[in-house]
Every structure is written in C-alpha cells, then in structure tokens.
Amino acid sequence: MSAQDPGTRGVLDVQGVHKRFGDQHVLRGIDLTVQQHEAVVLIGASGSGKSTLLKTINLLEQVDDGRIMLAGDDITDPRMNVDAVRARIGVVFQHYNLFPHMTVLANVVLAMRKVFGTSRAEAERRGLELLARIGLGDKAGEYPDRLSGGQQQRVAIVRAIATNPELLLLDEITSALDPQLVGEVLDLVSELKTSGSTIVMATHEMSFARRVADRVVYLKDGVIIESGTPEQIFENPQRPETREFLARVGDPFSA
C-alpha cells in the first residue's frame, strides 16, 4: 500500500497511516506529502479524521500502521525522541491553550528558553519583535485572559512559530472565534504562508482554504477522497463525495 515515489519526499511525508480508536477506524491509510513552503489545507466534515491526522503528525496519537517522515526522519519510529520531534513542529489548537499563569511574552518565549536554551535577553528580543509584528507589542506584559479570542489565538500562533519550526500544524484555529475575529487570525496565517512557512491546517473556512492553500485535501471517513489545487477542488471536483460535501457546506463568500 505504501509504495511511495522515492523522489517526492517533502518536509512531511505521511505514508499509509492507519489509526483506530477501539472499533472505530479513524484513519484508513492516509498518504500525504507536503513540500517545503507548501500550505496544505485539510477539509472534511467533523469526524472525518482531520484532527486525528494532525495529532498523529505531532505524535500526540500513536499511529497503528504506516509511517510519518519529517524531513526524512521516521518520526513514528519508537526509538525517536518524542520531545525532540515535537520541538521541530509548531502546533496551534482550536482553544488557543495559552498558559493562563504566564504573561503573553512569557508564553511566547517559554519554548525558546526552556527547550532550546536561548538566553533570556535574546528570547525576549525575538518575542517582542514577533508580538510587535502582529500588533500586540503593547500586550506583552498582559495575562492571556485579558485579551480577546482573536488576540489570544494570534499570540498562540506566535508562540508556535517563535522557535522557527520546520512545520506548522493548525487545527481549526478559527472555530472558537467570533466571525469578526476570524479575519485577523487568518490574515496572520496568510502572512506566514507568504513568508515561506510550511503549513498543514484543518479548517471549516472554505473561502480561506481557497485563498491560502497550495493544495486542498478532502477527507471523508478517514480516507483522502480527493486532493488538488483550490481551483480543482472548488471549481471542478472530480468525485461525487467532494461535490456533495462542498454543496452542503456552501461557501458564503464565493462569487
């Protein structure tokens, strides 16, 4: 099943990954290659396996079969140091998961200082620079609860990219936000995409998928039904399942 073309190894190479939760077969042989600077957007109904796939890539869930390669290293090998692998991947969660007992700046510099051993001055310089870039420089000393949802999520994104990860995983990062706050978060993601980050994101925002994605992947019941450029998937879907899904979610922003 996992007969891969040896030439197409990207930053991330998911090979025939299976995942079961008890009787539920959540991922049924996922193959997915992500090249450097590529933004891949996973779409699909709830329970289609998008989030589980992201979790297996970050080793938060153990795969039941198949392999996941990160820049050529088999990260599903049990001999791998799990923490070292995770340090190379940035993750942003649906509910931000900022640490409420730390200031915004402390959240951002935590991994730089405690995982990578960056000096305090250097880490805080970079942290403040990143916060300034997203327009939250003046909130560095605040505690996360004082910020709006959109601001918190932007801080969470900055926390994830502060250590220059090889790969950024975004798990429905706008699902918990008010519609008017979604824009500011998605603008930041577009910026990251432009500046060359490699991104895999699960989302329900079809218009956004269309805007930033180099490739859109449609998942259903743990299987990749169809994948292609946003134009191919949204304008000219080949498979009936994809057409049905897109018709159901609609796209309020489509022309």
Binding site: M1, S2, G16, H18, R20, H25, R28, G29, D31, L60, V63, D64, D65, G66, R67, T76, D77, P78, R79, G222, V223, I224, I225, E226, S227, Q238, R239
Partner: protein
Amino acid sequence: MSEARQSARLQHSGQEFAPSPIELERRGYRRARKRQSILVSIASTLVFAAALVLVLVNSPGWDAVRETFFDPAIAIEAFPRVITGLWLNIQVLFVAAIGVAILGTLLAIARTLKGPVFTPLRLIAAGYTDLFRGIPVLLVLYLVGFGIPGLELTGRLPAQFWGTVALILCYSAYVSEVLRAGIDAVHPSQRLAARSLGLSHAKTLRLVVMPQAVRKVTPALMNDFVSMQKDVGLISVLGAVDAIRAAQIEVASSYNFTPYVLAGLLFVLLSLPFIRLTDWLTARAQRREQIGGVV
C-alpha cells in the same frame, strides 16, 4: 494522487486490518522495551529489599528488637483483643466521617455565602476553622472528653462518644477548608448557567456547584479521611478500649511491644481499601472529564 490508487485503498479499507512489517517491527520494539523496563524495576526492587533486610538483620541489636517487637506468638495471643478494639475504631470512624461530612459542608457553605446579612455566620465559620485547625487533636480530645462531662449537663456517656465529638470538631474544620477551595474552583460560568435555567441559589449549590467541587477535591478529602482513620486511635487517651488501648493492655501484661506493631499493621490494612478506592475514583473522573489529556 491517482484515482485508481484511491479506489484501491477504499477496497483495502473494507478488508480485515493486517499490520505492515513496519508496524510489526515497531510493536516488537515496544514490547521489548516494556519487558526490559519491567525487568529493571523488578531487579532494582529486589536489590533494594535485600539491602534493607541485610542492614536490619546484621545490626547488633536485631535479635533483641525482633523478640520485643516481632514475636509471632504474642501477636497471635493479642490478636482477638486488638481486633475487638479495632471494631470500636471502625464504629467511631463511621459515625465521625458522617458527622464531619455534614458539619464540614455546612461550614464551607457558610464561608462562601456572599452578602452582608451573612456576615456573622461567615465570621463564626471563619473563627471556628481558624480555632480548630490550630489546636492539636490531642488537646481537643482532653478538653471535650474530660471538660464537657465535667459540666454534668448529661448523664454518663461512654468515652468513645466524646472521642467521636472531638474528632468531628477537629476534622470538619480541615474538611470545610478543602471543600471551600473546591467550591471556589468551580468556574463562575457554571453558576451563571445554572441560575439561567431558573435554579435557585440553594439548588444551584446542591445540584451544580457541590458535585463539581467535591470531584475537584476528592483526593484531598480522601487524604483527610485516611488521616482521620488513624487519628481515631487517639480516643484511647480517654480510656475507650480501642485497638491502641487493647494493645497497650496486652503490652503491659506481656512486657513485649508486638501488640503495638500488630495494631499498627491493622490500621494500615484498614486504610488500604480507601486509598485504592481514591486512586480508582480519581482515575475514573480523569478519564471521563479530561479526554485526550495524556501526552
């Protein structure tokens, strides 16, 4: 990705799941690692136990200590009396636990009441907990056990009655503080949601806040319970013939400390089921309410 491959995969997914060689190798490695860590833990436990036994047995006074503290014959002889005494401990514990639960909850609620009308109640509750957390249990036992009967308000009541009262007074102060922490830890949005459904303040507290509060502090409550379980032995100072007192009587007649060791062992055995129950309850709550929490 070609469509032919996709449809091949769809067919495959319908079939029985057969692990690939890669997965089998991984499973083999994990099994080997698990075996290895079990062996290491067994080996280190054995080495540690052996070292401990060697030090004990080779110490110069070991023979004398073994005779005075670990004499099986005396343990068997003392057993019926000590176990009868332990039954009294269990009875006292049972009554005291219920008393503590009621008084502790009332105190905790009194301390969390808001509003100026309740100020005296709040102050009394605060004063009570400050007082009884500060006094040594032994002192309370003496004061209650010998002082209150001295007032001659009631007829003669057995020592274990006053012992139980003293334990309730002390432990409800501790338990009320634990419960109060639990009540404060329930997020305000929960009260808001309950009140929005039309539940009264009392019903909100009883149906929504307290169940969550108790769950949050179960380990701490169980800790207090186990602690009380052994402090029940202190009622012996009032003359109640409990396990400790029974052991003391045996010690006095045999000039051998084995009955104390026996009583201690029985107290430990008594606490074990509750400790295991606590672990199980905590684990279950975690499984139910914090899904996906293990990394």
